[in-house]
C-alpha cells in the first residue's frame, strides 16, 4: 500500500474523529440541560422550571465549570479514536494480549474514570447545598461531606462500570448499518434509544456501588479526613443510612444514567461518523491535484492495518455493485489508456482474490490447528457424520435400539497403530524414554498450576473465532465480486471478466467448503454466532449468484469434474 493512500486515509479519518469529538462536546450541554430539568422539576411552575434550568445552562459558571469536563471529553475522544483505528492483530495467548493491550486498556479505563469523575463533580455543583461541597462546616468545624464523596464515587464507578461492560475484553467495534439512513435520523435514533435505555442500565451499578460504599466508605472518609486534616461527618455510617436516603440514591442513579448514556452516545457518534460511506474512486485520475484526497478502492482494501478503512472500501464496492446503474462499475469494465488494458479490473480482481485466498488459508490453518487430533472430513462425509449423529440422538430419544451392535469408528490414530505394528518399530533407548517422560510430567505439573493454562496457552478455536469476528470486509467483498461478475454479462463489453471467472469461482468454492466443514464437522465451536452465519451465508449466496448466472458455462469454468458436480448439486439442492 502506498504512503499517499495511507496519508489520505489518516487525514480522512482524523477529520471524522474531530467531528465526533465536537459532537460529543456539544451533547454535554444537552445532557446537562436534561439533568437540570430533572432535578429542578416544579410541577406547579412549569415556566419558571424551564427558564431557571435554561438560565443555569447558559450561565458563566456553567461555561467555566464545563472546561475540565470538556477537556476530559477530548482526551476520551482521542483514546476512543485510537481504539477504533488501532490495528487488529491476533494474540494467541492471554498473556501476549495483556502485554500488548494492557497499557492501552489502562489508559482507556483512566479516561472513563476521569470523565465519570468530572461529570459527577460538575453536576453536583447544581444539587442541593447538602450535596454540593466536598467540605462543609458542622458545629464550627470543617468536615468531609459524605454525600458529596458518595456522588463523586458514583461518577467514578459509573465510568469504570461502562468500561468493564463494553471495552474490557472486547475491542471497540463499529456496527455498520445495513439500512443506511441520513446522519440526522441516525443521531436522533441513537439519542432516543440511549436516553430511553439509560434509566434501566444505571440501576445495577447504583445498587452495586451503594453496597461497596457501605463496606469501604467509612475507611475512605477516614483516610480523606487525615489527608485533608479535617473531621469526618456522622452521615451514611450504616447501610440503613444509605438506603433510606432517597434523595441521595435518586441523585446517584441519575448521575449514573447520565454518565452511562454520555459514554454510550460518544461510542455511537464515533460508530455513526466513522461508518459513513467513504468516497472512493476506481482509479487515480491523472488530472487530479497531487495534494487532493483521492483514495482508490484497491488502495482502501489494502489498508490492512486500519480495519475501518478496509471495511469502508469493501462496503463501498458492495454498494456500488448492488446498484442498478453504477458509474463505478462501468469504470471497472473500462479499458485504460494507454495500452487498452483492463488495468482497473485487473487491480481490483487481484486484490479481492488475494484477500479471499489469504483469509481462506488462514481459516483452514486455524481449523487444522484446533483439530490436531481429528481428521479433516470432506464436505459430504462431515454432513454424513452429522446425520449419523442426529440419527443416533433421535433413536436414543425415542428408545430405539440398534439392530446390530455398534461398531466403534476407526480413527486415524488406530490406523497409525495398525500400520506401526505391521512395520518394524524403532524402540527408543532409556535416555529418550526418560526425557519424554520427564517432559510429560513437567507439562502435567505446569497444567496444574492455576493461571498457567489460562494465561500462556492458546484457547482452542481462538484464531478461527478471531478471523470470523473480523470477516466483514470478506463478507462484502465476496458479494460485491459475485455481483460484478453477474453484471459483467450485460455491462462488460470487452469480456475482461470472463478470464478470471474460474479463479473467482474456485476461491469462493474453497471458502464455502471450509465454512461448511466448520459448520458441520467441528465440535465445541460456536458456529451459531452471527459473524459466522453472516459470512457463511454471504459466501454461499455469492457463489450461488455466479453459478446460477453462468450455469450453462459451468463446465468450462471449473477445473475438475468433481468441482462441477458439487456446484451443480449446490445450485439445485444447496
Amino acid at each position: 500500500m502506498s504512503e499517499a493512500a495511507l496519508n489520505t486515509c489518516k487525514l480522512l479519518l482524523f477529520g471524522r474523529c474531530v467531528r465526533a469529538v465536537l459532537l460529543s462536546v456539544g451533547v454535554q450541554f444537552l445532557l446537562l440541560t436534561v439533568f437540570l430539568l430533572l432535578i429542578n422539576f416544579e410541577l406547579f411552575h412549569p415556566l419558571n422550571w424551564i427558564m431557571s434550568s435554561l438560565r443555569l445552562v447558559c450561565s458563566f459558571y456553567t461555561w467555566f465549570a464545563c472546561i475540565p469536563l470538556l477537556g476530559a471529553i477530548v482526551f476520551y475522544g482521542m483514546t476512543l479514536s485510537h481504539q477504533h483505528l488501532a490495528e487488529r492483530r491476533y494474540w494467541p495467548t492471554r498473556y501476549r494480549w495483556l502485554l500488548h493491550n494492557g497499557p492501552q486498556k489502562l489508559l482507556f479505563l483512566f479516561a472513563h474514570a476521569i470523565v465519570g469523575y468530572l461529570t459527577a463533580w460538575l453536576y453536583t455543583g447544581y444539587l442541593h447545598t447538602d450535596y454540593r461541597h466536598f467540605i462543609f462546616k458542622a458545629y464550627g468545624q470543617d468536615c468531609v461531606n459524605s454525600y458529596h464523596i458518595f456522588l463523586l464515587g458514583m461518577g467514578l464507578c459509573a465510568g469504570a462500570y461502562y468500561f468493564a461492560t463494553e471495552y474490557m475484553q472486547e475491542e471497540a467495534s463499529i456496527d455498520f448499518d445495513f439500512a443506511e439512513q441520513s446522519r440526522s435520523e441516525k443521531l436522533r435514533e441513537v439519542l432516543y434509544a440511549t436516553l430511553l435505555k439509560a434509566p434501566m442500565s444505571s440501576v445495577m451499578p447504583t445498587i452495586c456501588y451503594t453496597f461497596v460504599f457501605w463496606l469501604f466508605g467509612t475507611f475512605l472518609r477516614y483516610r480523606l479526613s487525615i489527608v485533608l486534616n479535617v473531621d469526618t461527618d456522622d452521615r451514611l455510617l450504616g447501610i440503613v443510612d444509605v438506603i433510606t436516603n432517597g434523595r441521595l440514591l435518586f441523585y446517584a442513579w441519575l448521575l449514573g444514567a447520565q454518565i452511562v448514556s454520555n459514554m454510550r452516545l460518544m461510542r455511537c457518534f464515533y460508530a455513526a461518523i466513522l461508518s459513513e460511506p467513504l468516497p472512493m474512486t476506481v482509479a487515480r485520475h491523472r488530472l487530479s491535484v497531487p495534494g487532493e484526497q483521492e483514495l482508490t478502492i484497491v488502495a482502501g482494501l489494502g489498508v490492512f492495518n486500519v480495519y475501518v478503512v478496509q471495511c469502508l472500501a469493501a462496503n463501498f464496492l458492495y454498494q456500488e455493485a448492488q446498484r442498478q446503474t453504477s458509474s463505478v462499475r462501468s469504470e471497472i469494465f473500462q479499458l485504460t489508456e494507454p495500452g487498452n488494458r483492463p488495468a482497473n479490473w485487473r487491480a481490483l480482481c487481484d486484490q479481492c482474490l488475494s484477500i479471499l485466498d489469504s483469509f481462506t488459508d488462514e481459516l483452514s490453518n486455524s481449523m487444522r490447528k484446533s483439530n490436531v487430533d481429528q481428521p479433516i472430513y470432506s464436505d459430504t462425509s462431515s454432513a454424513l457424520l452429522a446425520e449419523k449423529l442426529l440419527l443416533r440422538q433421535y433413536n436414543q430419544l425415542h428408545g430405539i435400539r440398534p439392530v446390530v451392535a455398534p461398531q466403534h469408528a476407526e480413527g486415524p490414530s488406530r490406523d497409525w497403530n495398525t500400520k506401526s505394528t505391521d512395520s518394524i518399530r524403532r524402540v527408543p533407548n532409556w535416555c529418550e524414554r526418560t526425557s519424554t517422560k520427564l517432559e510429560e510430567l513437567l507439562q502435567e505439573v505446569l497444567h496444574r498450576i492455576p493461571g498457567i493454562v489460562y494465561f500462556f496457552y492458546e484457547p482452542e478455536g481462538a484464531k478461527t473465532e478471531f478471523l470470523l469476528e473480523n470477516a466483514l470486509p470478506v463478507i462484502w467483498l465476496t458479494q460485491a465480486l459475485a455481483q460484478i461478475c453477474v453484471a459483467s454479462i450485460k455491462e462488460d463489453n470487452y469480456g475482461i471478466v470472463q478470464d478470471d471467472l474460474p479463479a473467482i469461482i474456485k476461491a469462493l468454492h474453497r471458502l464455502k467448503c471450509d465454512l461448511d466443514r466448520l459448520a458441520n464437522g467441528t465440535p465445541n465451536f460456536r458456529t451459531n454466532s452471527s459473524n459466522f452465519n453472516h459470512l457463511r451465508y454471504a459466501v454461499r449466496r455469492s457463489l450461488y449468484n455466479i453459478c446460477i448466472s453462468f450455469y450453462k458455462y459451468l463446465g468450462d469454468l471449473t477445473s475438475s469434474g468433481e468441482e462441477l458436480r458439487q456446484l451443480q448439486t449446490f445450485v439445485y439442492q444447496g
Binding site: 439500512a179 441520513s182 448492488q322 442498478q324 452471527s530 449466496r541 450461488y544 444447496g574
Partner: protein
C-alpha cells in the same frame, strides 16, 4: 383508459387432464405437479383436537380442583371461564361471584388501556383477513403461493398451517417434496423464497417469521421445526414480507405496527423504518431493488428509496386503503388498487431528463376502469368491482387482476415503453364452476428452466392451476 367491457374469453382449455390440471396445452406444463389441496389438507385448525379433549374429566372432582386443573391445562383465562360456568355457579356460587368480580375488573382495565393505547388491540383473524392479499383468507384452502426465484420449487401454504413444497413431476416422482409444519407456524399470511439460495423459505405468520433452511445433505430432524424464528419486537403478526433482490435483507410489515422492519437475518438484526401514520399492511420491493412500496391500513402509502438513505415519499388515496400492488419487471411503473374505488392506478418511476417537473414524478394516474360489468348477454356472470390482487407477468406483457366479489379473473395486456405504459383489454378466465373463485394468484419467475409466463392460480376449491401465457 382500459376497461373490462371488451375482454375476450381466454383461448379454450385444450388439454384438461385432471381436476387440478387444466390448462391451454403447453408441453412443459406436463411436468408441473397436480395439486388439489382439498384432498391434502390435514387437520384444519377448526378440527384440531388438543390432548385435553382426549380424556374425560372426572365427574366427582371438587370445584377448586377443577378450576386448578383447568388453570394448568388451559391457563388463566380458561380457568376464569370455568369458574364462571353454570356448573360452578350451581356448586359454589361464592367462587363464581368472585370470578365475576375479577372478570369485571379485568374488562374495565382492558377497556381503559385500549382507550389510552388503542394500538395494543389484539389483532383478530378477521382483521388480518381484511388486509391479506388472499381472498377469504380465513376459509381459503390456499393461503399463499410462492415460487422459487431460480429453480422449480413451489411452496403452497394451506389453511392447515402446513407449507407443502412441490417440484417437477417425473415418471417416478409425483412432485411433492418437503412438508413444513410446526407449532410455531400458525395463521400464515405470506411467505417468500430467499433469492440466491437453493432452499431457504421464510414464512410470515402470527408468531413472526419462521425460517426454513433445508440442507439437502441433512434430511433428518430438520423439517420438524423451523431453523430459526424471528419474532416481531412487539410480538405482532406479520402481514407482508419481501426479500431484497440479493437476499441479504428482508422487509416485513405488520398491521399493528407503524414501522416497516428491515431484517438482516444472517446477523439476526432488525432496523425499524419509522414514520408517523397508520400501521403498515402491504409491502412490495421493486425488482431492481431501488424502492419499496409500503401500503398502510389507511389512505396513506409510501415509497421508500432504498439507495437514497432510506428516505420516503408519501401519497394519500382518495379513500379506503391500498389493497394490492405490483411492479413492472423493469421497475419503472407500479400499479395499485385501493378498496374505495374500482380503478387501477399507475405510479411512474422514470427520471425525466427533459421537461422535468416535481409534480410529474409524484403523479398518480388512473389507467383502467375496473367497474363490474357482465360477461354474457344473460347478465349472469360478472367481472370487476373492488380488486383483490394484482400480478404482473415477468415478461411485462400481462397484468392479472382478481376481484373481491366477482369470480372471474381479468387479464390486461400491457405495453411498456421507456417513458410510458399502455394498458388494453385482454382476456378473462373462469373457474371450473360458477361458484369457484381465485383465492391467490402468482406468476412463476423467469429462470434458466423457465422462459414462459406461467400463471399459477389457487382456486377456492383447493386446486392449483397453471396457465401458460404467450
Amino acid at each position: 383508459m382500459a376497461s373490462l367491457s371488451n375482454l375476450k374469453e381466454i383461448p379454450s382449455v385444450s388439454s384438461p387432464t385432471s381436476v387440478g390440471h387444466g390448462y391451454n396445452y403447453v408441453p412443459e406444463l406436463d411436468q408441473y405437479p397436480k395439486i388439489n389441496l382439498k384432498n391434502e389438507l390435514i387437520n384444519p385448525p377448526a378440527n384440531r383436537i388438543s390432548i385435553s379433549h382426549s380424556f374425560i374429566p372426572v365427574e366427582t372432582e371438587s370445584v377448586p380442583k377443577r378450576i386448578s386443573r383447568t388453570f394448568f391445562d388451559g391457563g388463566f383465562w380458561e380457568s376464569l371461564t370455568e369458574a364462571r360456568s353454570e356448573k360452578t355457579r350451581e356448586q359454589a356460587p361464592v367462587i363464581s361471584k368472585a370470578a365475576d368480580f375479577i372478570a369485571h375488573m379485568l374488562e374495565l382495565y382492558s377497556s381503559f388501556k385500549l382507550k389510552i393505547f388503542p394500538h395494543t388491540q389484539q389483532l383478530s383473524a378477521e382483521r388480518i383477513a381484511q388486509y391479506a392479499e388472499t381472498r377469504d383468507w380465513i376459509n381459503s384452502s390456499v393461503r399463499y403461493i410462492a415460487w422459487h426465484v431460480h429453480v422449480f420449487k413451489l411452496a403452497v401454504a394451506g389453511m392447515d398451517d402446513v407449507v407443502r413444497i412441490y417440484g417437477k413431476t417425473t415418471e417416478s416422482h409425483g412432485g411433492i417434496g418437503h412438508v413444513l409444519k410446526s407449532a410455531t407456524q400458525t395463521q400464515i399470511t405470506c411467505m417468500a423464497w430467499r433469492p440466491l439460495c437453493a432452499f431457504e423459505l421464510v414464512v410470515g405468520c402470527s408468531q413472526g417469521l419462521c425460517f426454513w433452511i433445508i440442507d439437502n445433505n441433512l434430511h433428518l430432524g430438520r423439517t420438524i421445526n423451523p431453523s430459526y424464528t424471528l419474532k416481531h419486537p412487539s410480538n405482532l403478526p406479520i402481514s407482508s414480507l419481501k426479500w431484497s433482490k440479493d437476499g441479504s435483507l428482508l422487509a416485513s410489515s405488520s398491521i399493528g405496527d407503524r414501522a416497516i422492519l428491515i431484517w438482516h437475518p444472517d446477523s439476526k438484526r432488525v432496523k425499524p423504518l419509522k414514520r408517523l401514520g397508520p400501521p403498515g399492511s402491504l409491502l412490495s420491493w421493486s425488482p431492481n431493488n431501488e424502492w419499496i412500496f409500503a401500503a398502510t391500513v389507511d389512505r396513506v402509502f409510501r415509497v421508500w428509496k432504498c439507495h437514497n438513505k432510506w428516505t420516503s415519499d408519501r401519497w394519500v388515496c382518495d379513500g379506503g386503503n391500498v389493497q394490492a400492488c405490483c411492479w413492472s419487471p423493469c421497475s419503472r411503473f407500479l400499479l395499485f388498487v385501493n378498496t374505495a374505488d374500482p380503478i387501477l392506478y399507475r405510479l411512474q418511476f422514470v427520471q425525466l431528463i427533459l421537461m422535468k417537473s416535481k409534480a410529474d414524478d409524484k403523479e398518480v394516474l388512473p389507467v383502467a376502469d375496473l367497474n363490474a360489468c357482465s360477461l354474457d348477454s344473460s347478465n349472469q356472470t360478472f367481472i370487476g368491482g373492488t380488486a383483490q390482487q394484482l400480478v404482473w407477468d415477468p415478461h411485462g406483457k400481462y397484468v392479472v387482476i382478481t376481484f373481491k366479489s366477482t369470480n372471474s379473473i381479468a387479464i390486461f395486456r400491457t405495453y411498456i415503453q421507456k417513458y410510458d405504459l399502455q394498458i388494453s383489454g385482454g382476456y378473462y378466465l373462469n373457474g371450473q364452476s360458477p361458484s369457484e373463485y381465485p383465492s391467490f394468484i402468482s406468476f412463476q419467475p423467469l429462470n434458466k428452466d423457465n422462459d414462459r409466463s406461467v400463471l399459477t392460480i389457487g382456486w377456492s376449491t383447493g386446486r392449483i392451476q397453471f396457465y401458460g401465457l404467450d
